[in-house]
Subunit: 128 residues, 2 copies
């Protein structure tokens, strides 16, 4: 996404560049855990295409969020890691994930309380 233009003056849109994409948070969160190779990231993010992974990593690298280290060997080996700047995003990402997780938990509870049709409840009561 090198063509993404910086929307000057708006912190929200600025942050959204790094956090708004479908795979961005997951990529960065995994890099927080450990420096990773392309193939590792690809395999730990089920469903991501190599195209998109490449795009995002390139964007992050050009933005100074991620560092790419190229090794001179074969098969080729590249490692990606968070820069100090990238690390500043982790508390934000953690906040987002925590909210997502707890909200999912609440929905599960709410769903299990409301998803039982009345006739099923009557059946269960009829069995006692």
């Amino acid at each position: 996404m090198p063509s993404k233009e910086l929307y000057i003056g708006c912190p929200v849109q600025h942050a959204r560049q790094y956090l708004g994409g479908k795979w961005q948070i997951a990529i960065l969160w995994h890099l927080k855990m450990q420096c990773s190779r392309f193939v590792e990231l690809r395999d730990v993010l089920p469903g991501i295409s190599e195209k998109v992974l490449t795009q995002e990593l390139r964007f992050f690298e050009s933005s100074g969020i991620v560092k790419k280290e190229v090794f001179n060997c074969s098969p080729q080996k590249v490692e990606y890691s968070l820069t100090p700047k990238g690390l500043t995003l982790i508390p934000v990402i953690k906040s987002i994930i925590q909210w997502g997780y707890s909200n999912l938990q609440e929905e599960k509870v709410t769903r299990s309380m409301t998803s039982t049709p009345v006739d099923v409840i009557d059946e269960l009561e009829g069995m006692r």
Copy 2:
């Protein structure tokens, strides 16, 4: 966006439903400040279309994030406010905005430090 499907099992994608859209954060952030009418939101968010504002508010309402109160008067009056559940998103949003703001500030500093061509610096030094 009532057709948005919940990606079960992934807190990231779940949170992204409410935070990933272009206007979502700004809408919610403004509602944190005060309960607002449709027209107020429209005017405080320069550039947003009524269509998109309507969509987002409807999605938030159906998700339990926002409460819509309809008044029986003319012109018609509707007020939107955050629910307790919606309020749980504010610390997250604040975190995002703060990061965006500080990162923008850093870019401004970095830009002013690197955007002066060497020949201009030489000129300035030549004037001393």
